[in-house]
């Protein structure tokens, strides 16, 4: 029988990168600039650091309990009923996160590309795609992320690199921003973009060598976070902070303003959107997979397939609840900040209690011995 542990460190990195780079990439510079004007790259960096703290906590927990997902080891740490509350919150949170991601995707597509299509159709198509794909096991899950990761990274890096042609460094000054006291909400909003990295709680039990999980987290965060800072720096340097406040999706506008050298190709937003759809799919795939996989572990089932279609309509209804884009973004921001309590504070609490109660998981089962990786 195939070893249940198949995911290598590089695959874990790919999962992290393609999960984190998602729908938030378009509106990211707007959130950063609202918080700190020209200090947007700094706010992004601080948000990344906060996100990394959360990821580190989750990785430490995963390495402490290398055979179990958070749903299972939280029961060991907190006892059955307290953990049940935490687990339900996690599942509900990621279900709502999936719905909001799908809705944001639908809004962008309906505004920029398919202008006469009802937003419900775009949301359903994306959710259906995610639902069908999540029927597979975790190894296929990893392969899909590994497959799409270079398709995501290379074009985005290329477009961002080309955009620097139009940049003006003075737009990035002053680096600290204009002493706006507003930084903290912005930092929280940006840290909330990294909540997808919680998928690592499900990946670590399937990793060949869970002790390499910390390396995977750092590398994944470095690449995804580095890309985010680059995008924010590029957007702010090209447009300036005041102009960005007028744009809903500054990254898209950046791609619109970018062209290949010698104007061989202009309006790269077409290519960017094509790549971005893939990025959204991988993010949605991860959060939906996390939701249904956690549900299966909660109910002590050996497979999560049955929940993939079951949750579909519920997630769709949640996705359609915001009445318009403004309300949607308000909900996303508030919900993201609340979610930081679930993805950073709750695991932090679990880690502290696990250390205090001296709880540790069994040694790695089905360990794959490898010389080098």
């Amino acid at each position: 029988m195939e070893n249940p542990r198949q995911i290598t460190m590089i695959q874990a990195v790919a999962i992290l990168i393609s999960t984190i780079i998602g729908v938030g990439v378009l509106a990211l510079p707007l959130f950063a600039v609202r918080a700190a004007n020209s200090g947007a790259p700094l706010v992004t960096l601080l948000g990344i650091l906060l996100g990394f703290v959360g990821l580190m906590i989750v990785t430490l927990l995963g390495m402490r309990f290398p055979n179990k997902t958070i749903i299972q080891y939280s029961e060991d740490i907190l006892g059955r009923w307290l953990a049940l509350l935490g687990n339900i919150l996690i599942i509900a949170f990621f279900a709502v996160l999936t719905s909001l991601t799908a809705r944001e995707f639908g809004e962008v597509v309906v505004t920029s590309v398919l202008k006469t299509t009802p937003v419900e159709v775009t949301v359903i198509v994306m959710l259906l795609l995610a639902a069908i794909t999540t029927r597979n096991g975790i190894t296929t899950f990893a392969y899909i992320h590994v497959f799409y990761m270079p398709i995501l990274l290379v074009p985005v890096l290329l477009i961002v690199a080309l955009s620097f042609k139009n940049s003006d460094v003075i737009n990035l000054q002053p680096i600290w921003g204009n002493a706006t006291g507003n930084m903290l909400p912005g930092i929280l909003t940006i840290a909330a973009l990294f909540q997808g990295s919680f998928i690592l709680t499900v990946v670590i039990p399937a990793m060949r060598q869970p002790n390499k999980a910390m390396k995977a987290s750092m590398l994944g965060m470095l690449i995804a976070g580095g890309l985010y800072i680059t995008i924010v720096a590029a957007t702010v340097s090209v447009f300036g902070s005041e102009e960005i406040k007028e744009l809903l999706w500054p990254t898209l506008e950046l791609a619109k303003a970018t062209s290949l050298p010698a104007n061989i190709l202009e309006r790269l937003d077409a290519a960017f959107l094509a790549v971005w759809v893939t990025a959204v799919f991988t993010t949605l795939f991860s959060s939906y997979f996390l939701t249904i996989h956690s549900m299966s572990k909660l109910f002590r089932l050996r497979d999560h397939r049955m929940f993939s279609f079951f949750l579909l309509a519920f997630v769709f209804i949640m996705a359609m609840l915001p009445q318009n884009i403004i309300q949607m973004y308000t909900i996303i921001q508030n919900f993201g900040r609340i979610g930081l309590g679930i993805t950073i504070v709750y695991p932090g609490l679990l880690l502290v209690i696990a250390i205090l109660r001296k709880k540790r998981g069994e040694p790695v089962r089905n360990q794959v011995k490898e010389n080098a990786q």
């Binding site: 419900e120 159709v121 359903i124 639902a131 109910f299 089932l301 050996r302 497979d303 397939r305 049955m306 929940f307 279609f309 079951f310 579909l312 309509a313 769709f316 209804i317 359609m320 609840l321």
Partner: protein, 70 residues
């Protein structure tokens, strides 16, 4: 579906979605778990499938009644 308020525009999509997802669970998952001899999972799938189908029917009838009477 002129119910007014929140649930208007997307019930048209949601009800068929519930119905189709329920039918898909019944058609695909139950057979899959029977082949793998996973009894508990098969029973859960059966429950989930019929739950979705039942919910779709309920909402359809409910919205039809509301349309007629409100």
């Amino acid at each position: 579906m002129g119910i007014g308020g929140y649930f208007t525009s997307y019930l048209i999509y949601a009800i068929p979605l519930w119905l189709v997802s329920g039918l898909l669970i019944l058609a695909l998952d139950i057979k899959h778990y029977e082949l793998l001899k996973m009894k508990k999972e098969r029973n859960v799938s059966r429950f989930l499938g019929w739950f979705n189908v039942g919910l779709a029917c309920l909402l359809f009838v409910g919205s039809w009644i509301l349309k007629k009477w409100v």
